[in-house]
């Protein structure tokens, strides 16, 4: 696991097997862009300085005869061909044309709607229960035929709560119930528009060491209290107890700063007055699935937590979902 992972600086951390190819292409393209911009820019500034209008000196009618621009143009074209054929097309082809073998992959369905990601797991029998649109209710968001289809009995349906195993190819079948959404995991370099009327499959594999709990620990960072803002730390929790010089416990590990700007800002002020110098925090849910295509008034709110497990943890999670919930009162 690379040390010190952060959000918000250039590329986010990458936890997928194919991600580094995309990052490499992005880096190479930016180097190319700078290789064009810097000489252009330097030449531009040179001309501005050298060729200012001066009295007694006139402009040259035909100053440049060299073929340099033609060679530069050919050079640009050659680099672009390399970017296209050498870097982009192979990565894209693998992304689009090479699904993992059926016996190796773990298949999960994701059905998008305004404004949640429904994840449908096939359960122990490995077969997805049938669904029907007429059965859709708020308690059955994908219309699973719970009574009619025996395969549906062991299916798991979650809302905005996607769990995936690491170290195994994941095959995801994406569709939408209502409008176009876009399934985007920034930290896995995966994006796919989710279009109603179509089912589009995507596949990727998560690095075997990328377990959510480990990632969370790794993303622990200290923010000096003068630079702390609730907007930046609203999704974070304290990594350890916050104890002042006098030994007073101002906040416990796992606490958050507050649920609103007002509450959070007051809390930060309170901690600052108590003499706390820095806030040592980590994101509560380090991995997120977000919606990248405008889908309505709560498009910004359409995010699912993504939790990665090893095989044992994943099996345990699935078992826990199927445990019946007992309510004592009635």
């Amino acid at each position: 696991m690379p040390p010190d992972l952060h959000y918000g600086r250039w590329s986010p951390p990458d936890f997928s097997l194919h991600g580094h190819n995309i990052d490499q292409l992005i880096d190479v393209v930016h180097v190319f862009m700078l290789a064009l911009f810097i000489p252009w820019g330097l030449f531009f500034l040179y001309c501005l300085l050298k060729y200012r209008q001066k009295p007694g000196q006139s402009a040259q009618y035909n100053p440049v005869k060299a073929k340099i621009s033609k060679y530069a143009e050919i050079g640009v074209a050659v680099v672009e061909v390399f970017l296209l054929v050498g870097l982009s097309m192979p990565v894209w082809a693998q992304y689009k044309n090479d699904p993992p073998a059926e016996d190796e992959r773990y298949t999960v369905r994701v059905i998008a709607q305004q404004f949640q990601w429904n994840a449908h797991y096939a359960g122990a029998d490995g077969v997805f229960g049938k669904t029907d649109a007429s059965l859709i209710t708020e308690l059955n968001p994908i219309g699973l035929m719970e009574e009619q289809d025996p395969h549906a009995a062991d299916d798991i349906v979650t809302i905005n709560d996607i769990h995936l195993p690491v170290g195994r190819p994941i095959y995801m079948r994406l569709t939408s119930l209502d409008v176009i959404h876009s399934f985007f995991i920034p930290t896995m370099r995966v994006k796919q528009d989710v279009i109603p009327g179509m089912e589009v499959p995507i596949w990727f594999e998560i690095d075997a060491w990328a377990l959510s709990d480990d990632i969370r620990g790794n993303m622990t960072a200290a923010t000096p209290i003068e630079k702390a803002s609730w907007y930046k730390l609203r999704h974070h929790i304290f990594a350890e107890d916050v104890v002042t010089g006098d030994g007073e416990v101002m906040a416990a590990a796992g606490d958050h700063l507050g649920e609103s700007y007002k509450a959070g800002t007051e809390r930060i002020a309170e901690l600052r007055e108590a003499g706390v110098k820095e806030l040592v925090m980590q994101p509560r849910h380090p991995l997120q699935v977000v919606c990248a295509q405008l889908c309505g008034n709560s498009h910004f709110k359409m995010a699912a937590q993504l939790i990665t497990h090893d095989e044992a943890g994943f099996a345990a999670w699935q078992a826990a979902q199927k445990q019946a919930v007992e309510f004592e009162d009635f």
Binding site: Y61, P63, S134, T137, L177, N297, S298, K301
Partner: protein, 580 residues
Amino acid sequence: MSDHAHSHGDHDLPFWKKYVFSVDHKVIGVQYALTALVFLFFGFSLMMIMRWQLAYPGRPIPLIGAMLSGTLAADGVLVGDGYNILGAMHGTIMVFLGIVPLAVGGFGNFVLPLQIGAPDMAFPRLNMASYWVFFVGGVIMIGSMFTKTSGAGSGWTMYPPLAVTAAYGETIWLVGMVFLITSSLLGSVNFIVTTIQLRARGLSFFRLPFFVWAQLVTAFLLLLAFPPLEAAAALQLMDRVVGTSFFMPEGLVLSTVHLSHLSGGGNPVLWQHLFWFLAHPEVYVLILPGMGIIAEVIANNTRKPLWGYKSLVYSVIFLGFMSFIVWAHHMFMTGMGTTLSTFFQATTMIISVPSVIILTCLIISLYGAAIRFTVPMLFALAFLPMFAIGGLTGLPLGLTASDIQLHDTYYVIGHFHYVVAPGTIFAMFAGIYYWFPKATGRKMSDWLGKLHFWPSFIFINAVFMPMFFQGMAGVLRRQYDQTEQLAGAASHGLTLMSSWGAWLLALAQIPFIVNFFWSIWKGQRVSDNPWHATTLEWAAPSPPPHGNFPAVPVVYSGPYEYSVPGVSEDFCPQNVALEA
């Protein structure tokens, strides 16, 4: 032709025929420009309201918050619906009501006939019709924001099924678009016929100023690319109002309600193809007139011919042609396979070549020059690196593999704003400062112009440069509250920088507005050719009368005969024969 020029007898026209329902291309050009500038300001204001919500999510907007309608805001705080409505209307207004009418309707109408030595456009009444159809379309679009629905809210891209099922002002938007598109179609026919038929004697195609070439290619783009969108708008209007399923697939379930009354069978991706088939050439419509203006200003203020005139012309023609076959690079994420995406990636890479050539020619034109840092030249010079940044940042977006990470993020917003804002809008400013003396006979104030330029340049970079970093970090676009997303929360500092940049940028426009109106009445009076320029419009009086030229000009040379060796003056107008 001379009969035509004198048949109007404009000295006898009543006020409303001379200045309101005028068929004179100059009056129409000024009408377009003023209307477009008002709409541009309105569209910019919408974004400034949105930037408050981005910088201080959930907090009431000072002053303006209380005035926003119940659909847009509650207790002065913008709500999700309001943010989306302001965003969609911002995009629509800036593109269709602001830039195109200013660049093509304004500058094209005013300057093009003058630059080719014509007395007016080929079809003056059609020209007037195109303005008024645009005006009605503009009133409909802006008016929709003052109805109960407060305007369209599904992006300027209006993707169904969201745009079909949304309960905002999408229907009015579609009706408004029909008017705006019709206006552009009427105008483009006029430009093409005028340029081909009404050039002065001796003005062959390769003696045309680059501005005219740019407008000609732009007119072809408008003529050929808009009809599919007009058709698509009609189809979506039917989907919304009548219940057809051109873009609506079967089996939609909206908020647990199965839309079983729809026949289905439509495809949302069809709209995307029809929309982007226009909208990609549309972005070249946004930039080409600007490039034309920049070329004129640079030639004039370097006191030498543009370097690589032929390359510029061939490049702009090639660019126009290529712009029709790259549209699906906006759709790489829709589930496109390798065959189609290979084609569009390749064409997108190819189209970058003429852009690079044009920019390189303009930069090399500075070599061996005698640069005058006039106010139009400041804007023209700034255009060059800004357009370079905008154009170059299109490359990672045009390659499918890198587009996976960058599509629909702030990287895209940074990319296209760099081309349109410090690109085209700076070119518009350059054109206004440059041609103001021709339209009014007065010059705009230089020091107010510099006071406008420098803060604008600094703050416009402050607004848009952070967006590339946010996009790389994964911050998504069209987000009412960026901080709901981890990446958006982490980069909130950059959002603050963009917001404050935007508000300061707005303040920086005040010198321009003051300068513009003050100079109309009190500006320093200047001669017919204060910039000592070579192109034909400067041979006409300032302002040109109805019919433009006292005598039909004859052209003897290319458009940029500056610093010709052996000639004492450092410029030689096109309609003056060069002594051997």
